[in-house]
């Protein structure tokens, strides 16, 4: 066996992949070849470092389970397996660490919402803006990356899910806040909008939000 042939097998030898007779043949060459011997040592050291670094893995705790359960519920709602109230979540604020997942529901595109004197319910008259009206944003606060899911109210006050699923880096429908574009529904943090959104939520009478959603 020459260096070129042995070189092709050194990594596999270090990983313990070779059959016994193959190992013996390569090792016989390595014993006589300082260069291949050094290379084999480098492969072994790199492998040890790699496995050591990857040994510490995070553990998913109860918060993970709760958040996942809520997301699975969303899937069920989209499929019409069970009907759940839209209003069920509280926003925990800010760029949250991987903690309990919470949702907030907010209205967008209703210029009259947010005014301290405004007593209109969250689902008000259709806006005249050229954007989707009465659209809701649901944010999952368990991650730095917001996951908006937009609903739109139909004429009969039911809600239709316009953009099912979560958006991680997937370009989604542009979400509009009044006449401003909030941002694309992707990884971008919407920190500047969070405080504003929270303030708006506090002014919304959540009891007025319809309790049922329908799958599209």
């Amino acid at each position: 066996m020459n260096c070129r042939e042995a070189g092709e097998l050194l990594a596999a030898l270090a990983s313990g992949e070779l059959e016994d007779h193959e190992s013996e043949e390569v090792l016989a060459h390595v014993e006589k070849c300082p260069r291949c011997s050094r290379k084999l040592g480098e492969y072994r050291e790199a492998l040890v470092a790699l496995r050591e670094a990857a040994a510490d893995v995070p553990v998913a705790g109860k918060a993970f389970g709760r958040a996942l359960s809520r997301r699975l519920d969303e899937v069920d709602v989209r499929r019409g397996r069970k009907v759940q109230p839209v209003v069920r979540w509280q926003f925990m604020g800010g760029v949250a660490a991987a903690a309990a997942a919470v949702f907030i529901v907010a209205t967008v595109l209703l210029p009259h919402i947010g005014s301290p004197d405004d007593q209109q319910p969250a689902v008000a008259q259709p806006a005249t803006a050229p954007y989707p009206v009465n659209a809701y944003l649901v944010f999952d606060g368990s991650s730095p990356y917001y996951r908006p899911v937009a609903f739109q109210q139909k004429g009969d006050n039911s809600l239709v899910l316009r953009q099912p699923g979560v958006f991680h880096g997937i370009p989604a429908a542009r979400l509009v806040w009044r006449d401003d574009v909030v941002g694309r529904a992707d990884y971008q943090l919407l920190e500047s909008r969070v405080a504003e959104l929270e303030a708006r939520l506090r002014s919304i009478d959540k009891a007025q939000i319809p309790a049922q959603t329908k799958s599209p």
Binding site: S15, A46, G65, S143
Partner: protein, 196 residues
């Protein structure tokens, strides 16, 4: 609500049966799958992504994707293989969209120093791990993936081939290249030179 914790010692056939039931809409059966495979999915996502928060997010995405597609699960696949495939695809998507590199896995700070490992050793280990993740970030995504699946997850080539939907010969070639690249760069970093 699915509890997460140590995986149960459920025989593989039971998992397949549970997944088939989940495919018919049985949410309780899927909750069992979540309970049994969360640790595996989280660990795999973490080893591909190198970030605790991203790994947890990716793991959630993987289970949501699995639930959405439960009806398409084919019991000829083990549940582990099926979930690994979903997880690696999602993790690869995240790698591609990454705007910055993650050099340090966030989970390491939480590891307690073992009684036989002093603070100095722990710091050294953490530094080495940081270099490893940096080097992994420099690998092409597909090389990184096969390296993780083979060298860390310990999967056979055939299994990796199924998970990545790639021919075994391609997997072997990528693995060969990944090992060589990683070795070269690790050796260079240890040496103090800079090979990129």
């Amino acid at each position: 609500m699915p509890e997460t914790g140590s995986p149960s010692k459920r025989p593989p056939d039971d998992s397949r049966a549970a997944m088939v039931k989940a495919g018919r809409g049985d949410r309780a059966s899927f909750d069992i799958i979540v309970r049994d495979y969360t640790n595996m999915v989280v660990a795999l996502a973490y080893r591909v992504l190198g970030s605790r928060d991203e790994a947890l997010d990716c793991a959630q995405d993987a289970f949501v994707r699995a639930w959405e597609n439960a009806a398409r699960y084919n019991p000829k696949w083990s549940v582990a293989t099926w979930l690994r495939r979903i997880t690696t695809n999602l993790a690869l998507d995240r790698l591609r969209r990454r705007k910055t590199f993650t050099y340090l896995p966030e989970g390491l700070e939480e590891r307690q120093v073992s009684p036989v490992e002093g603070p100095a050793e722990a710091a050294e280990r953490k530094e080495r791990a940081g270099v490893v993740w940096e080097l992994l970030d420099l690998l092409p995504d597909k090389y990184r993936l096969v390296l993780v699946l083979r060298e860390i997850e310990g999967l056979e080539i055939r299994e990796i081939s199924r998970i990545t939907d790639t021919q075994a010969a391609t997997v072997r070639w990528r693995l060969h290249r990944a090992r060589a690249l990683f070795r070269d760069r690790w050796h260079a970093s240890v040496d103090g030179s800079d090979v990129r």
